[in-house]
Symmetry: C2
Subunit: 367 residues, 2 copies
C-alpha cells in the first residue's frame, strides 16, 4: 500500500490511470503474440485505416461495415481528422457546457462558431438545444460525450439519446459521439450508443479509444461513421502519416481477442468504483457544502463549489495544500463554471483519503 | 528461395522492405524488455515530444540538446507538422526535381509556391539554386533528401552540403534535411549531415525515421531543429494527438540500446546491396539504352528511359507484363520526367532477375 507523504502533491488532476491498474503482463503477452502470429501485418506499412484485423473487430462490435471504421493514433487524432474534415471558419458546432477542454481548443483553432448548451446530470439539455435550433441555429456538428462525461462524470439518458438522434436527422447535423469511457461503467446498465440508435442513417460519427482499457501509451483510437466520410478522412490520414501504428494496432488486437481486454476492463472498473466511492463519501464528509453527482463510471467527478469560492483561486490554494485539481473554467467556452474537476483515476483510495482534508483546508482558506 | 510465378506481379514499385529483412525476433525481444524495464513510461500518456529515453538517445546521436528533438508517428507526420508550422499559402519552398511525391502533395495542399531545382547525381544543382536566389526568390524552406534520394537514389556530395548550408545562412531560409535512408549506405563513406555542418546556427531542421531500420509498421520518426521551433511544433502535436506512441517509442528504444539496431541495419544493408547490384547489372543487360546511376544505398533506382518511351505508357505496359513500377512523372512538380522509379527493397534477387526481361518486353512493346 503506497504511503502518502504530506509534502507530495496528490494528483486529482489528470485523466489518466495509475500504473497499478494497467495490465502490463497482458500487454507483454499481446506484443509477443502480435509478432509471432502476424509478423508481416504488424511490421509492414499498413494503410491509413490501420491494422486490418482490429478494424474488422471494431466493425463487428458496432455492427457496421469495415469501410465505416478508421483506426487512429489515439482518439484525439480521430477528433482532429474529423474537425479538419467538417469544421471550417464559421461552421456552427453545438458543444456541451462544460465540455472537454481539448475539444474546445481544437474547435476554436479551426474558427468554428460554438453553441454551448447546458449539460445536466442526465446529459445535454435537449430542450435548450431544440430552442436553439428553433431560433435558427444551423449546426454542422454536435459534440456529445455520452458516458461518464469529461469533465462532468454525467451520463446521457436513453430518452435524450433518442431525442438527439431525432433532432440530428430532422435538422441535418452530425452528432459526434465521443465515447472513450464507455467500457468504464461500474454501476447500472449501459445505454445503446447513438450510433446504433441512428441505425445507419448517417447522422452519427462515433469515436472511442483503447487508452482507458488497454493503456494510454499505446495510442490507439478509432472513428466509426458513414463510409464516404470515413473514406475522405482516410485520404487525409494517408497524406498526414501513411498509417497509424500497425505494431500498436496488432498488440491491441491480440489483447482484445485473448480475453485480456475483458479481464483488464473488469479490474479497471473495480478499482475506479472503489476510488469513486471513496471520493464521493470523502467529499460529503469533508466538503458538505459542495454539490456533485457521483458518476456511474469513468474517471471524473464535477464539484460545484460553495457560493463565493472562486474556482481559479481554489486551484492555486489546493496546489499550496498539496492537491492538484483542474479549474472548471477550462471546460466552458464562456463565463465562469463555479466548479472544479476531480479525477479519481490516477490515485489510490489512500491518496484520496489524504487529499480531501487538504482540499477542504484549501476551500476554507478562501472563505 | 521463393519461386516466381509468371502470373504474379513483381512489385518494383513500393518503397518498403520485404518481410525477410525485418528483425521480427529482435522486435519481439525489444517489446518484452520495454514492458519489463519501463512499464510506467511505456504505458502512460507521454507528452508530445515522445518517449523520453528515445528522445535523449536521438539527441545524443545528433549531438544536440534534448529540447531540439521531437518524436513523431513516423517521419511523414514530422513533415506534416513542420509544413503546418512554416508553409502558408504563398510561402516559397525550394524542392528538388524530382522529389518525393508525398512532399509535393503536402506542400501543394498548403498552397506553397514551389521552386523546383534540378537534381543531379551528386545532389541538387546548387548553381541553379544560387541563380534562383540571385533572381529574387525568397524561400522560407528548401526540402532536400540528402542520402539515397527518393525517387532518384542520388546522394548529395559534401561540397554541395557545405554550399547549401552557406546559402541557407546567407539567405535566411531553412533547409529541411529529410533523411530517412541515411543508415542504409552499403558502399562508400557517410557524409556529415547538414544539421551538423550548420553547427547550431538554426538553418537546418532534420527528419529521420526508424521505418527503414526497425520496421515501417512501428511508425516512429523524429525531427531535430532549433529549440523554439521544436517547442512550437510540440504544442501543435499536443493539440493533435497528445503524444505519439509511447509503447512504440519504448520498443524502438530497447531495439536501439540492445544492439539489435546495428545488427538489423547491417542485415538490411547487405540485402539491399545484393538487390541493388542485381538490379543494376540486370538493367545494363536487358535495357542497355536506359540510363541510371547505381545508388550507394537506400531503396531506389531512377531509370531515364530511351528516347520516345513514354513513362506513363510504360507503367501500364509493365503492369500488363507483370511488373509494378512507378511513373517518374509522379515526382516532378511540372512537365514530364522521362523516367521511372524502381524499388529494390521489396523484392528478392530472384524476383529482380525475373522482372527485368518483363520490363524489357514492356519497353519493346512501346517502341
Amino acid at each position: 500500500m503506497p504511503t502518502v507523504s504530506p509534502t507530495t502533491t496528490i494528483p486529482l488532476s489528470r485523466g489518466a490511470p495509475s500504473l497499478d491498474i494497467i495490465d502490463v503482463e497482458g500487454l507483454a503477452d499481446a506484443a509477443a503474440r502480435a509478432f509471432a502470429n502476424d509478423p508481416a501485418g504488424a511490421t509492414a506499412y499498413g494503410t491509413s485505416v490501420g491494422y486490418l484485423p482490429l478494424r474488422r473487430l471494431v466493425a463487428e462490435w458496432h455492427d457496421v461495415d469495415e469501410e465505416q471504421v478508421l483506426l487512429t493514433n489515439g482518439s484525439m487524432q480521430a477528433d482532429a481528422f474529423l474537425f479538419d474534415e467538417l469544421a471550417r471558419p464559421g461552421t456552427q458546432v453545438v458543444i456541451e457546457r462544460p465540455t472537454y477542454d481539448r475539444t474546445l481548443l481544437a474547435l476554436r483553432q479551426r474558427g468554428a462558431e460554438l453553441h454551448p448548451v447546458a449539460l445536466e446530470p442526465d446529459g445535454i439539455d435537449t430542450g435548450a438545444l431544440e430552442a436553439l435550433l428553433a431560433a435558427g441555429a444551423n449546426p454542422t456538428l454536435a459534440h456529445i460525450i455520452p458516458n461518464f462525461h469529461n469533465p462532468a462524470g454525467y451520463t446521457l439518458s436513453l430518452a435524450k439519446r433518442q431525442r438527439l438522434v431525432q433532432l440530428a436527422q430532422e435538422h441535418n447535423f452530425i452528432i459526434f459521439e465521443d465515447d472513450p469511457y464507455i467500457a468504464l461503467r461500474f454501476r447500472g446498465e449501459t445505454h445503446p450508443t447513438m450510433l446504433s440508435l441512428d441505425a445507419g442513417a448517417g447522422s452519427v460519427v462515433y469515436a472511442s479509444s483503447f487508452s482507458k482499457t488497454v493503456c494510454p501509451g499505446i495510442r490507439v483510437g478509432y472513428l466509426v461513421g458513414p463510409a464516404d466520410l470515413i473514406a475522405a478522412i482516410a485520404r487525409r490520414a494517408t497524406a498526414t502519416y501513411i498509417s497509424p501504428g500497425e505494431v500498436s494496432g496488432a498488440i491491441v488486437y491480440e489483447f482484445c481477442i485473448s480475453g485480456a481486454l475483458e479481464r483488464s476492463s473488469a479490474r479497471v472498473r473495480d478499482a475506479l468504483e472503489q476510488r469513486c466511492g471513496r471520493l464521493a463519501s470523502g467529499l460529503a464528509r469533508e466538503l458538505p457544502e459542495a454539490r456533485f453527482v457521483a458518476p456511474d463510471g469513468g474517471y471524473f467527478l464535477w464539484v460545484e463549489l460553495p457560493d463565493g469560492v472562486d474556482s481559479t483561486k481554489l486551484v492555486a490554494a489546493a496546489a499550496e495544500h498539496g492537491v492538484a485539481i483542474v479549474d472548471g473554467d477550462d471546460f466552458v467556452a464562456d463565463g465562469r463554471s463555479g466548479a472544479i474537476r476531480l479525477s479519481f483515476a490516477p490515485v489510490t483510495p489512500e491518496q484520496i483519503d489524504e487529499a480531501l482534508p487538504r482540499l477542504a483546508a484549501a476551500v476554507a482558506s478562501l472563505q
